[in-house]
């Protein structure tokens, strides 16, 4: 008996495969659409609950939105009567004729009608610049950055403010408004905040006490006050100290305020990235003989900025929406033009405000979502050096 058991054990230990197992497709429930559903939406009880909840939420929101924005919407008309239930004897949704009529104001503000082509040229130039800079397959991207950071700002400034010598009639910035102002304020904030933020972050980590003290005081002061206060100080307090004729333009003051404000936030974002870089990277860079600025530019910042992309874009998106606060110092940004239009008696209906805000929401959503998507793509591209 014991002998037989021993034989059996030996027989089990010894095993040699004689034929290769052919590859088979996975079970149907694990692949294809059904598999995807199971894996992504219904994998655990908690997940199932979430899925159901979200489906219910969408079922609640989407029909209402569609009804208001499309089905019950009014598409043509010349004044408020087109959008009034009492006149039309039906349920009224979005009042689009109001938007059609006011669209030019939303885009240009009070920019003189005969000069609005200049704003269109600016938008086109900016669009070319953005594509040239951000599209990786674009030709001569080095020229693209020269264009974007040097040619574009100067050309836009001349184009938008005017230069009598080349026949462009001056346009006071008081007349600027709408999407033009929102784009100008946001671009200046976005473009200035990163370099200034980097300098402040480096300053805060500097060994030089004066530089460090300046950076710390600046960052903590600016972060410690609301943006509204910064804007107020820039536009109300500054003229008290500077004589009227030397005091800069109201829009410029707001731009400076926004840029400084965004820089302080950016500095902390960048500092978090710098903090995350291991000491060995600094030592490796120093040991091969790189100078401080070479080390920062070639080794530390590329890595630090890469890991902070989500936070940088987060700050950008916040900044883009914060530009709406410039209305407080009397600048007509996009949201403010909507705000002014919706109380126009010519279009006074119960749905006018909702329609205006819906347009504003879509505008901000498109821009912020675009930034967010581009950042995700960049992250994915830069993650290539992390692959193993």
């Amino acid at each position: 008996m014991t002998m037989a058991e021993g034989d059996l054990a030996v027989a089990n230990i010894k095993f040699v495969r004689s034929a290769t197992i052919d590859a088979r497709p996975p079970p149907l429930a694990m692949s294809g659409a059904l598999g995807w559903l199971r894996k992504n939406l219904l994998s655990t009880p908690f997940n199932i609950a979430l899925t159901i909840l979200i489906v219910l939420l969408l079922a609640w929101v989407i029909p209402g939105l569609a009804k208001f924005l499309l089905i019950d919407a009014v598409w043509t008309g010349t004044d408020r009567d087109a959008c009034r239930e009492i006149v039309q004897h039906r349920e009224i949704g979005a009042c689009w004729p109001f938007v059609w009529e006011r669209w030019a104001y939303f885009v240009y503000g009070s920019y003189p009608i005969s000069e609005r082509w200049r704003v269109d040229v600016f938008f086109t130039m900016l669009a070319i610049g953005v594509v040239w800079l951000l599209w990786l397959g674009a030709p001569r991207r080095d020229l693209g950055s020269v264009y974007f950071f040097l040619v574009l700002p100067i050309a836009s400034f001349i184009l938008l403010t005017g230069w009598t010598r080349i026949g462009l009639q001056p346009v006071d910035t008081v007349l600027w408004g709408g999407i033009l102002v929102t784009i100008v304020v946001a671009s200046v904030g976005i473009i200035c905040s990163l370099p200034f933020g980097i300098l402040l972050a480096l300053g805060r980590r500097s060994r030089m006490p004066a530089v460090r003290l300046f950076s710390v005081v600046f960052i903590e002061f600016v972060r410690g006050v609301p943006l509204v206060t910064v804007l107020f100080m820039a536009s109300v307090m500054l003229p008290l100290f500077v004589p009227e004729q030397y005091s800069p333009d109201k829009l410029v003051r707001a731009l400076v305020g926004i840029a400084l404000f965004a820089s302080a936030y950016m500095a902390e974002v960048v500092r978090a990235g710098l903090q995350a870089i291991p000491k060995g990277q600094f030592e490796g860079a120093m040991a091969v003989g790189l100078s401080y600025w070479q080390m920062m530019r070639l080794i530390i910042l590329p890595q630090a900025l890469k890991i902070t992309i989500p936070n940088i874009v987060n700050t950008y998106i916040g900044l883009f929406k914060d530009t709406t606060l410039v209305f407080i110092v009397g600048i007509f940004d996009f949201l403010h033009t909507v705000e002014v239009s919706r109380i126009d008696p010519k279009w006074a209906t119960p749905v006018t405000s909702t329609t205006g805000y819906a347009v504003a929401a879509m505008f901000y959503l498109v821009f912020c979502y675009a930034m967010s998507r581009y950042a995700r793509a960049t992250e994915a591209r830069l993650a290539m050096s992390d692959r193993r």
Binding site: Q281, M286, A287, V288, G289, L298, D386
Partner: protein, 269 residues
């Protein structure tokens, strides 16, 4: 500029995978005289006197916390010393940034954790310093980098990122990166301590090759086999002091100090 030209000649005209270490300006590669250093109140380096002649290979060993790493990191000023003199090939290390840069250009360093730049390819890791510090044209730097990558036996990995390589390969890239600057002196700070046992040999072999070519080397290591094979002198440190320095023969067979005997009994089985 002349030196870089010399290297190019060596790579193109004579394909042998050996380097001629850049000659020193003075007979003394490294001179430490009465060096002291404190971290706060903690006395990490105590009256260190050490001279290393050109072409000499020194292995520094000792228990952890004995100040070995701190000492060699003072040689390229990754750490500052607070007392005494450190002279590297005739250049004294002071707060003068120019002098520090000069020393770092000529002293290569290999770290325990490699410290490769993860966002750059292997080739870019090697060409970065020659291009930016030595102002070498990119093509020339590429050529030199390929030469040294061949020498450390991983030319086929040039286009990969450090994260895609094994530890041993990464450390060999780190050695190639240091060699691309054409250094006069090489410092190794526990180069094999972070490696899997199987990869230690490939790194040590590379270092033995360097030693055979006559490179001046200071190596912090516990690889006693390596020490026996290449070291001219072994320096034993404990609690911030040099306890004993001697030829490998004498050091292993006739240790003088009690502390040395104890240390050797613990690491030699």
């Amino acid at each position: 500029m002349r030196k870089e030209k010399g290297i190019v000649m060596a790579t193109t005209a004579n394909a042998a995978l050996h380097l001629k270490p850049t000659p020193l300006n003075t007979a003394m590669a490294v001179e430490l005289t009465g060096v002291n250093k404190w971290y706060g109140t903690f006395h990490v380096l105590r009256d260190i006197d050490l001279t290393v002649k050109g072409g000499e290979r020194i292995v520094i060993c000792g228990p952890s916390g004995s100040g070995k790493s701190t000492m060699i990191r003072c040689i390229n000023r990754l750490e500052e010393h607070q007392q005494g003199r450190i002279v590297i090939d005739g250049v004294e290390l002071t707060n003068d940034l120019k002098k520090i840069d000069e020393v770092r250009r000529d002293v290569g360093m290999v770290f325990q954790h490699f410290n490769l730049f993860p966002h750059l390819t292997v080739l870019e890791n090697c060409t970065l310093a020659p291009i930016w510090v030595r102002k070498m044209p990119k093509r020339e730097a590429d050529e030199i980098a390929q030469h040294y990558l061949k020498r450390v036996k991983i030319p086929e990995q040039a286009a990969k990122y450090p994260g895609q390589l094994s530890g041993g390969q990464q450390q060999r890239v780190a050695i190639a990166r240091a060699l691309c600057m054409n250094p006069k002196i090489m410092l190794f700070d526990e180069p094999t301590s972070a490696l899997d046992p199987e990869m230690v040999k490939e790194v040590l072999d590379t270092m033995v090759g360097l030693a055979e070519d006559g490179m001046t080397m200071l190596v912090v290591s516990h690889e006693m086999g390596f020490a026996r094979q290449v070291a001219n002198r072994i320096v034993f440190m404990d609690s911030g002091q040099i306890i004993e320095a001697n030829t490998p023969e004498e050091f292993f067979h006739h240790p003088q100090h009690e502390r040395t005997k104890l240390f050797l009994s613990q690491i030699l089985h």
